[in-house]
Amino acid sequence: MIAYLTSPKALRAALPAVSFGIILLIIWFYSPFAVSYMGLNLMLQYAVPITLATIAQMFIITVNDLDLSIGSFVGLTACIGATLLADTPILGILALAACVAAYVAVGALIHWRNLPSIVVTLGMSFVWLGIAVLVLPTPGGTAPGWVKAIMGLKTPFVPFPIVAAAVIGIVVHFALMRSSYGVVLRGAGGNPKAIGRAGWSLLKTKMVMFGAAGFFGVLSGLALIGLTSAGDAHIADRYTLFTIAGVILGGGEFVGGRVSPIGAVLGALTLALTPQLMGFMKIPTDWQIGALGGILIIVLALRVLINRREA
């Protein structure tokens, strides 16, 4: 047991959690108050939508694709959420369902023509942004009350964002890592030919994964407006890069279907917490942007220690 716990494999799996813990520890060192119910609630609120978007990205990465449109897609769903969903709920739900369907179609297209997902999703990012600008030409709108109520939930003992992250991580873990169809989905990333030879439809796996990504993108957009209470087409532009970084930080790999939902959640939380840490360390204005890079590097450098052991 102890041998297993100190084995490189276990350490690598624990890495995302360790990175997150270390950042939390340093924050505690700067401001013990921040690591309280209220502090954690404040610091991690915006991690919830990022976590959801990161999971969406992870689904796509599982089948060896990459989604460069998730940021603008989240922006679009946020805009729909703050306008249609709030004004005419039925229409809003239909519109959001259409968004998910569009994701499914993109997945099907990529499979059908064997296209590089990077270009297709890059193109789609313009499409989503364009629709968002048409739906909501200038920022505004209001989030439906129930969305705000959910995001403002005061859970007992443990702050809502942590509960939410845990629930997301566990649900997705069971769906993708433990369920029997999840095996097929991950297998489609590991060796698509083998999955095809065993009689499964690769088209279906692509569509399921893109659909799941679209669904989580919608959740992310709604969670976001639940916090901001208003929409904005550009609200999540940078999610695209951050979600990719989150998946990788969580131990995922670009190809081969090697992903970890819990790792991805922790990766997203780490990325959300890093700027918070920076806020506490009085850094001169010029170097604030750089400091984020520096902290990321230091956190990631932990890998060396583990990889050294492995070598």
């Binding site: 095809g196 009689g199 081969g256 090697r258």
Partner: protein, 484 residues
């Protein structure tokens, strides 16, 4: 008489100019083990791919259980009719565990507890076929060595749930197994055939086919050239049917060379436990033992030492490696055959700072001749080659390079008999010219080509045998010392 499970008539498949199958008839009866042999590129795998539903033939009748399914045949139909295939290039998902890979085969395994169920099922099958396999159902396949991966894939093909199982195709199942495990598998095949299942066994180790199949079909250049009960063949007639006429009788010469040991300079020296691996210039050194006992690790250590990574010993001279696990260690799947060969000799092809396409083509042509790579055009993609021919290309890569020390990681996987003998000659010639070979092999016969053999167990050298001392018993004895 029972109906044939498979009855193919005039099945043909062309890839551009290559006639992989040129009108093949094939029958498989219930409860028989059908041996399928043929030179590299004869069309065996193509035929099996058609049977497994992964390739659609251009023409021909696909009779399964007495019905012609030509138009609708595909993977789902094959599954429905209880036909499973262990492909030559393995078809496992490296990111999944052993149990998860087994689940892929059985859509009905789902719901709560599927993981336990599947794990038990595959472990049971592994225990049944390969006692003492040392694989856990929770192991991630990518972490397993190629031999173990092959065991998993074989065991998986024999697992049973609610779909029927009539025929298991084994396309070179023993190529990455050592002698002991190969025997375990073949005994198992006999047993299930006795129970009424049918198997198709493809192998280049003719002894296996002769001993374990009921009937043998010989293929040559996309055609079936002979089909008889196994008892009607012997090794020589089989070789003759395949179109090769060479036989081996060079053992005496080798004993001569063995006496030279020590007269040339030591080019490789690596300590291993209490023993020491030593290779002199011009020697052919065999690395023996059961698969996965540190032979590949030794070769990689030497390779890394030569390239200035870590220093595990002394290596004097440039090295090249012939990979055995061609999919992960050898092939550049986007490149042509010529490029795959040339990559080992890049610096020699440079003229005035640029790689000279003429020189590259020349190297390709030379080696196509010397090692008989079966292709109409060396500019074709490497994957258009049959498995054995891909392996030959990797051989050519190493031999074409200017390396003086050649490391071979069980390099004959899937190479046909005729070519093997030619390659043995080639190796001996090159050794005469001063090249040194370190040759890991799982085939006993190949060790007789070596001047000196080291036996590995648990990652260490446990025996050091000269050519005269070499016997199968000694090797087996050393490989199993602990348990014996």
């Amino acid at each position: 008489m029972e109906r044939n499970i498979v009855s193919f008539e005039r099945v043909a498949k062309h890839f551009g100019a290559v006639r992989a199958l040129d009108g093949v008839d094939l029958n498989v009866k219930p409860g028989e083990c059908l041996g399928l042999v043929g030179h590299n590129g004869a069309g065996k795998s193509t035929l099996m791919n058609v049977l497994a539903g992964t390739l659609t033939p251009d023409t021909g009748v696909i009779g399964i259980h007495g019905k012609d399914l030509k138009s609708s045949y595909g993977v789902p139909k094959a599954n429905e009719n209880g036909i499973r295939c262990v492909f030559q290039e393995l078809s496992l998902c490296p990111n999944l565990t052993v149990a998860e890979n087994a689940r892929i085969f059985h859509p009905s395994l789902s719901g709560w507890g599927w993981k336990t169920k599947t794990g038990a099922m595959i472990t049971e099958k592994l225990d049944e076929i390969f006692p003492g396999h040392g694989i856990s159902s929770g192991d991630v396949v990518g972490d397993l060595k190629i031999g173990k991966r092959q065991m998993v894939e074989i065991a998986r093909a024999f697992t049973l749930t609610d779909t029927p199982l009539h025929l298991v195709i084994l396309d070179e199942p023993t190529s990455s197994l050592d002698a002991i495990t190969a025997r375990q598998l073949l005994e198992f095949v006999r047993k299930v055939v006795g129970d009424g299942l049918s198997c198709i066994l493809i192998s280049h180790v003719l002894g296996e086919v002769l001993e374990y199949s009921d009937r043998i079909v010989v293929m040559k250049d996309g055609l079936v050239v002979s089909e008889r009960p196994a008892g009607d063949f012997d090794r020589n007639s089989l070789v003759a049917e395949m179109g090769n006429v060479i036989e081996m009788d060079e053992i005496s010469e080798h004993q001569e060379r063995e006496k030279l040991r020590g007269t040339t300079a030591v080019v490789v020296e690596v300590a291993s436990g209490t023993q020491k691996l030593q290779a002199h210039q011009g020697e052919i050194i065999g690395l023996a033992g059961l698969a996965g006992h540190g032979q590949t690790g030794m070769l990689l250590g030497i390779y890394e030492t030569a390239f200035g990574g870590k220093a595990t010993g002394n290596v004097n001279g440039p090295v090249a490696l012939v990979a055995g696990d061609r999919q992960t260690d050898g092939i550049f799947h986007l490149w042509s055959i010529a490029e795959n060969i040339g990559v080992g000799s890049l610096s020699r092809m440079v003229r005035r700072g640029l790689i000279d396409p003429v020189a590259e083509a020349a190297i390709g042509e030379t080696w196509q001749q010397r090692i008989k790579i079966k292709t109409p055009d060396m500019n074709n993609n490497i994957l258009s080659l049959s498995g054995g021919n891909q392996q030959k290309a990797l051989f050519a890569r190493a031999l074409a390079s200017d390396a003086e020390i050649i490391l071979m990681d069980d390099p004959m996987r899937g190479v046909d008999v005729g070519t093997k003998l030619e390659v043995y000659d080639l190796i001996r010639d090159e050794a005469e010219k001063g090249r040194t070979f370190l040759w890991y092999t799982t085939e006993m016969d190949e060790l007789y080509n070596c001047d000196h053999t080291y036996v590995f167990r648990d990652g260490l050298i446990v025996a050091d045998l000269s050519r005269e001392e070499l016997t199968e018993e000694k090797i087996l004895h050393s490989s199993f010392k602990e348990t014996a």
